[in-house]
Amino acid sequence: MPGFKFSNRDAEDREKLFINLYKSTFPVVARYVGKMGGSFDEAKDIFQDALVIYYEKSVESTFELKTNEKAYLLGIAKHLWLKKHKDSSKHVPIDGFDIENEEPAQASDLKILNFLQTAGKKCMDLLRSFYYDHLPLQDAATLFGFSGVRSATVQKYKCLEKVRETVKEKALTYEDFLD
């Protein structure tokens, strides 16, 4: 499906998407992992990580799926399996896509995240839809019940400022933050 894009991305849409992907692709991924000597739990972990990567790629505005999503997901899953079971420094490219290795979250990150989640879940959910789900402005405004794009944007920046201040304040109290 070239140029495939999600039309809308509220929680319900995502659930449908993941159920469909599970049904269409988890069997082949599980078969692959099983054949390679892996367990059910390993297949599950790898498939779920592949779904996250697929999702993050597919919401980027520049993303264009050059093959079908089943083949793409299987490709990511194989890549993850090989990476896990071979020399971890070895680079395994997949179908022209490069999966960047990100720094894993630090313990201090999780503390701050925990705080943000408890103190301002509403703001975090709004910011998530803008910066993680890359929801179009109009869709985000509708989803969060704003009267229009402008007021959603104003709230977005207010939330961002709040998070920025919280992150700064908390980070300075956790020593390992800037390591």
Binding site: R14, F40, K158, L160
Partner: protein
């Protein structure tokens, strides 16, 4: 507010035309602005982590649904069979 928006353009859309030069000049003169940029960058990183964590929970919920609800029994059995008899 406007400043936060300018920092966003600076960090997330650096190639966009705008008042980039004016902003760069401001940056040289304003250490507080540099500080804000640094923490705004961290804020974006935290939002991404949050988004990813939430998404993982949503995916796990789907997994639980598919592997516990009777309506998906034939699917879950098909998968489980791949890992038995070995």
């Amino acid at each position: 507010m406007i400043e936060t928006e300018q920092i966003e353009v600076h960090l997330l859309h650096p190639s966009e035309p705008g008042d980039a030069l004016v902003f760069e000049a401001k940056l040289l003169l304003d250490p507080e602005l540099r500080d804000k940029i640094q923490w705004q960058k961290e804020a974006y990183r935290m939002v991404k982590l949050y988004g990813r964590n939430q998404l993982k929970q949503e995916i796990e919920a789907v997994h639980q649904k598919l592997f516990t609800q009777p309506e998906h029994l034939s699917f879950s059995q098909k998968i489980r069979r791949l890992f038995t008899n070995r």
